[in-house]
Amino acid sequence: MAANVLEAYGVRKSYGVGSETETEILHGIDLALGQGEMVALTGPSGAGKSTFLNVMGLLERPTAGRIRVNGEDIADLGESGLTRLRGRSIGFIFQFHHLMPAFSALENVLMPILVDRGRPDAEMRERATELLDKVGLGAFLERRPGKLSGGQQQRVAVARALAMMPPLVLADEPTGNLDTASADAVFTLLRTFNRDFGVTFLIVSHDPRLARRCDRVLELVDGRLTGQWAGDEVPARYD
C-alpha cells in the first residue's frame, strides 16, 4: 500500500476554548487517506463536515490530536511553515468556486503557483494553460470568472486546486451548486485527475450518486466518524 497522504489521530476541534461557550465540534477523529484514494465524506448538516475539512486542510489547527500531511507532523510547524505546507500539499475546491473576480481564468489557475514562487514565468503559464485545456476551458483563458457559467467557474476552480500538483485535494460540495450535467462533468474531471495523476481527493458531498462513485465513503455524525463503506456499498438510506 502506498504511503498515506493524510493521517489524523484523535483530532479534536473546539471553538471558544476556555470560555463558557466552549463547544467541541470534532470528538476525536482518526483518519488515514492513502495516496490515490478518492474518498467522500457525508453526513447530516451540522455534523461538522466543514470544520473537518478546515482542520484536515490545515486552515485551522486542531485543539488536540495529531495530523500528518505527506508525513510531516504539523505540530512541528510554525505559522509560516504551516502556510507553506498548505500551499504546496493541499488544493482546495469550494462550493462557491471562490475564484478571484479581478483575475482571468488563467491567472486564477496561476495564482497558487504565483503565491508559492513569487513571480510568474513561462513554465508556470504553460502548466496553467495545460490544466485549463484539460478541464475543457482552453478557449477561455482570458475570461474573467464573471463571464463564465457556474459549471465553467467550478472547472476553473478544479484546475486551480491542481495547479501546484498537490498530493491532496479537499473539496467542499464541489458540485452542490451545479445542475446535474455540470455536476457530472466536474466529478468526471476529478476522477480523471485522480486516476491519471494519483491525486488523493477528500470530497464532502450530500449527493449519494457522487458518493457511490468514490472508492470509499465516510460518514460524519455529531463530530464522529460513524460509518465507512466502499463506494458501491453506500446504504440506501442515503438516497
Partner: protein
C-alpha cells in the same frame, strides 16, 4: 513582477470607484501643497530679491566711536559723570585693503566691494539737492548691487569724471545724459561730474539720493584720503549671512551688519509665513492619510474573501500585508503625480492672473511632494494591511461566501 505587486494593482483596478475616490483625494491634497509651496516660495524669493536687489548682504563699518572716561575712580571712590554720547564722524576702516582681502577669503563670501560714502549736495543751475555720494569700484560694486542691470538711460560708466545718478534726481536737477552736475560737500570740496547714466532701482528714495562716482573722487570729496567708510559683501547662502557677519565682526573688530538684521521684520514675516504654510501642509497630509486609510479599511472588508482564498492557497500574512501596503503606496504615488500636475497648472494660472512674481516650480518641490505622499500613503495603509494580514482564511471564506 512579483505576485504581491500584481495582486495590489489588480485589487486597485477592481475597486474602481474607491480607487478613483482615493486617487482624487491624494491628488487634491498634493495639488494644494504644490500650489501653496510654489506660491509662497515664489513670493518670498521675489520679496527677498527685491529687498536684496539694492542692498548688500553684509556691510562692514568701523565700530561706533564711544565716549571714554578720562578718570578712573580709585577703589572706594565714586565718580559722578554726565556722559554725552559722541557724534559719529565719517571715519574710514583702518587697513581696509587687508580687511577686504580677509573678508573675501571668508568661506561663504562670494563678492566684496569697498565704498567711500557720505553726504553731499548736487547742483545744476539753480537746482540743488542733498544726495548720498557712493564712491565705488564699479567692477566690484555691480557684483553686490547690479545697478548696471537697472539702467534707465545712458550706460553704467563710473570712471574719471563720469557719474551715474538715479532717475528721480535727474528729474529734480533737470539733467540728462552728458549734462554736468556739480557735487559739493560740507567740507567745502567740489567736483563737477558728467552724467553718464541714469538708473532706476525701483525705490524712489534711492533714485532721488544716490550718486555713484569713482572711489577716488569720493575719497577726495569726503576728505577720506585713501580710506573707505564701508565694505559691502555678498554671500552664497542668503540665510547664512548673519553667521558670516558675526564671524567677520569677531575677527576684525568692525561692526558687521547682515541684511537679516537690517530687515528683521521682513524676516519675521517670512518665518511666520513658512510656519503657517507648514501647518497647512501638515493638516492636509493628515487628512489625506485618513482618507487613504479609511478607503483601504473598507476595501479590506470587501476583499476579505479573496484574502482568505489567497491565504488558503499558501499566501503568508506578510504577503497579504505587502499587498495592502503597496496599494497605499501606489495610490499615493499616482495621486501625487496627478496632484503635481494639477498644482502646477493652478500655480501657473495664478501667476499669469496676478503677473507680479514668478511662482517657484523647482524639481525639488515635485520630488518632495511625490516622495512625501508615497511615504504617507504607505504609512496610512499600515492599519488596513495589519487588519488584512490577521484575517483567518476560514473566517474570511465562510463570511465572504
Amino acid at each position: 513582477m512579483p505576485f504581491t505587486v500584481i495582486a495590489a494593482l489588480r485589487f486597485l483596478r477592481e475597486g474602481r470607484f474607491q480607487t478613483v475616490l482615493i486617487l482624487s483625494g491624494v491628488a487634491v491634497g498634493a495639488a494644494v501643497i504644490v500650489f501653496l509651496v510654489a506660491l509662497i516660495t515664489g513670493l518670498q524669493d521675489d520679496l527677498i530679491s527685491r529687498t536684496l536687489g539694492t542692498q548688500p548682504h553684509i556691510v562692514l563699518r568701523p565700530a561706533d566711536d564711544a565716549a571714554r572716561s578720562l578718570f578712573r575712580p580709585a577703589p572706594g571712590e565714586t565718580l559722578d559723570a554726565q556722559v554725552e554720547k559722541r557724534a559719529q564722524r565719517l571715519r574710514s576702516i583702518d587697513g581696509w585693503q587687508r580687511v577686504l582681502a580677509d573678508a573675501a577669503a571668508t568661506p561663504g563670501v562670494i563678492a566684496v566691494s569697498p565704498m567711500a560714502s557720505g553726504p553731499a549736495f548736487a547742483a545744476r543751475g539753480s537746482a540743488q539737492k542733498s544726495v548720498a555720494l557712493l564712491g565705488i569700484e564699479p567692477e566690484r560694486y555691480t557684483r553686490i548691487v547690479p545697478v548696471n542691470m537697472k539702467m534707465a538711460a545712458g550706460s553704467f560708466r563710473v570712471s574719471g569724471e563720469d557719474a551715474v545718478i538715479g532717475v528721480d534726481l535727474a528729474k529734480d536737477l533737470g539733467a540728462s545724459i552728458g549734462d554736468k552736475v556739480r557735487l559739493s560737500t560740507a567740507g567745502g570740496r567740489t567736483q563737477v561730474v558728467t552724467v553718464a547714466g541714469i538708473f532706476d532701482l525701483g525705490l524712489r528714495d534711492l533714485n532721488r539720493r544716490w550718486v555713484l562716482i569713482t572711489l577716488r573722487s569720493a575719497q577726495t570729496l569726503l576728505d577720506l584720503a585713501g580710506g573707505v567708510t564701508n565694505i559691502d559683501l555678498s554671500v552664497r547662502d542668503l540665510f547664512g549671512a548673519e553667521a558670516v557677519a558675526r564671524t567677520i565682526a569677531a575677527r576684525t573688530g568692525l561692526a558687521a551688519e547682515s541684511w537679516m538684521k537690517t530687515n528683521a521684520e521682513l524676516l519675521a514675516g517670512l518665518r511666520g509665513q513658512n510656519g503657517s504654510s507648514a501647518m497647512i501642509q501638515f493638516f492636509v497630509s493628515v487628512a489625506v492619510a485618513f482618507g487613504i486609510s479609511s478607503v483601504l479599511v473598507v476595501s479590506v472588508v470587501q476583499k476579505s474573501r479573496e484574502i482568505g482564498i489567497l491565504r488558503a492557497m499558501g499566501a503568508s500574512r506578510r504577503a497579504v500585508m505587502t499587498i495592502f501596503l503597496l496599494q497605499g503606496a501606489v495610490v499615493a504615488l499616482a495621486g501625487s503625480v496627478l496632484g503635481c500636475a494639477l498644482g502646477t497648472w493652478a500655480a501657473l494660472a495664478f501667476q499669469s492672473w496676478q503677473g507680479v512674481f514668478h511662482v517657484w516650480l523647482g524639481w525639488q518641490l515635485y520630488a518632495a511632494a511625490i516622495a512625501g505622499a508615497t511615504a504617507i500613503g504607505t504609512l496610512a495603509a499600515i492599519a488596513p494591511a495589519l487588519r488584512a494580514s490577521h484575517l483567518e482564511p476560514v473566517a474570511a471564506i465562510r463570511y465572504g461566501g
